[in-house]
């Protein structure tokens, strides 16, 4: 049905999945840094965190991808000779894609995390302090475990949007499943067939993620009493 291109597209799907997972890992780190900045008592840091999340969320992903891919390339090549590296550097689309998507979705996640942290009653961290825990322990033993439960719905949403945004990286030449499908479509002149196949693959990825994240949410909510209306 796919004229022998099935394996090629599956290969692309694996790359898509790698890209999505790695950028999510980076985004979680940046999101935590972002939320730490935004909730920090130091005004300048809080402003910096707010700026990061507002500016990034106000600009289309595609524009940021093009900016970081082409701009990053020219910065690298301007800086490299100064440290004694004279060859032309070609930015790998996968590295650029992970960096860009991680940077963009770090901003979205910092917003998700902020809402979750603020929903934890103040008494929780005060109780931790009263027990003599260090600020570090209060954060990781008391706040983070509770934050995860509250952040899962927002996180699920961010993850789905990120998975779908990976398709845009094919525009700067990453050979993900979108790119492979375009090649196959051009070669066989059957674009509908191949883009439909790719759409189905994305649907599989998003559906499976939904199931997994729903399971995780259930696990994290075990101790929560739900009231029936």
């Amino acid at each position: 049905m796919l004229k022998g291109y099935g394996a090629v597209i599956l290969e692309g799907a694996w790359l898509t999945l790698q890209l999505a997972l790695s950028s999510m890992a980076l985004a979680i780190v940046l999101g935590l840094i972002g939320v730490a900045l935004r909730l920090s008592p130091v005004r300048q840091l809080a402003v910096l965190g707010d700026l990061y999340s507002t500016v990034i969320r106000g600009i289309p992903d595609l524009v940021l991808i093009l900016l970081i891919f082409y701009g990053g390339q020219s910065v690298l090549n301007a800086v490299a000779p100064m440290v004694g590296y004279d060859d032309y550097i070609e930015l790998s689309p996968l590295a650029a894609g992970i960096g860009t998507l991680g940077f963009i979705f770090g901003a979205y996640l910092s917003e998700t995390f902020r809402g979750a942290f603020m929903a934890i009653p103040k008494g929780q961290s005060e109780a931790g302090m009263a027990y003599g825990m260090s600020r570090f322990n209060v954060f990781f033993r008391i706040l983070v475990p509770q934050m995860i439960r509250l952040a899962i719905p927002g996180f699920t949403n961010n993850w789905l949007v990120l998975t779908k945004a990976t398709a845009l990286i094919s525009v700067v030449g990453l050979q993900d499943m979108m790119f492979k499908a375009k090649q196959a479509a051009d070669a066989t002149r059957e674009p509908f067939t191949f883009f439909l196949a790719v759409a189905a693959m994305y649907l599989v990825i998003t559906s499976v993620s939904l199931l997994i994240l729903r399971f995780i949410e259930k696990r994290y909510s075990v101790g929560v009493r739900a009231a029936d209306l």
Partner: protein, 232 residues
């Protein structure tokens, strides 16, 4: 690295005409998207499985696949079929503007339908019971009670959707349209100045985003004022 302002200044007319195209794409797709979303949203709250299921499937599939794939399916994909190529619709379906509007409208209709359905379901039961007690028919209940209040309560979420759509229209540049992103891409191709080209585009989008946010704040003040917390 020096920021080359002259290039930005010289290409400003291109960005402004790009902005007009972006706004045109946004307005057309939002209008038709909302038009389609209303019946879809009503279908999604129906208790009849045969009415609810098709709408659920539509929104699930559209929301589960990337916008780029949907755009390519319509713009490149449909040409695969001779029936489409020979039909009277072909002049439309071979135009990038039409395909982009169609793809965006279909996409936003799915998201908006879910917003409307969520808002309808969140209507306080008492309001519906009161309307029934007054002897309203189902049509009148929807027309006078459910829709006016649900559409108002959907405003904050809808404003998010509109801003997402503004950003989504940047995909039009991939199918050759010269919207803001398209203008930036051609400036970058011409001068090879990625920072100047794309940061300018980013500033345009940020300004549009802030204006939209402001407009929706005004709209919320006008139509949702009764839900705002009381000022002391």
């Amino acid at each position: 690295m020096i920021f080359d302002y002259t290039v930005v200044w010289d290409s400003l007319p291109m960005y402004f005409s790009g902005m007009l195209i972006t706004l045109k794409l946004l307005a057309i797709s939002l209008f038709f998207g909302l038009l389609a979303a209303l019946p879809l949203g009503l279908m999604r709250v129906s208790k009849n499985r045969w009415i609810n299921m098709p709408a659920w499937l539509f929104t699930y599939v559209i929301r589960g696949t990337p916008m780029l794939v949907q755009l390519f399916l319509i713009y490149y994909g449909l040409a695969q079929f001779a029936v489409v190529r020979e039909s009277f619709l072909w002049p439309l379906l071979s135009s990038a503007t039409f395909c982009a509007c169609l793809a965006f409208a279909v996409n936003t209709s799915a998201y908006t339908a879910e917003i409307i359905a969520g808002s309808l379901k969140a209507t306080p039961a008492g309001e519906i019971e009161a309307a029934r007690a007054m002897g309203m028919s189902k049509a009148m209940l929807y027309r006078r009670i459910l829709l006016p209040s649900a559409l108002r309560r959907a405003l904050p979420q809808y404003s998010n959707e509109v801003i997402m759509m503004l950003q989504t229209t940047s995909l039009a540049s991939i199918v050759t349209l010269l919207d803001i992103t398209g203008a930036a891409r051609s400036v970058n191709a011409q001068y090879y100045l990625p920072f100047e080209a794309f940061i300018t585009a980013g500033v345009f989008y940020l300004c549009l985003t802030f204006i939209l946010v402001r407009l929706f704040k005004l709209a919320e003040h006008r139509w949702l004022g009764y839900l705002a917390p009381r000022k002391a």
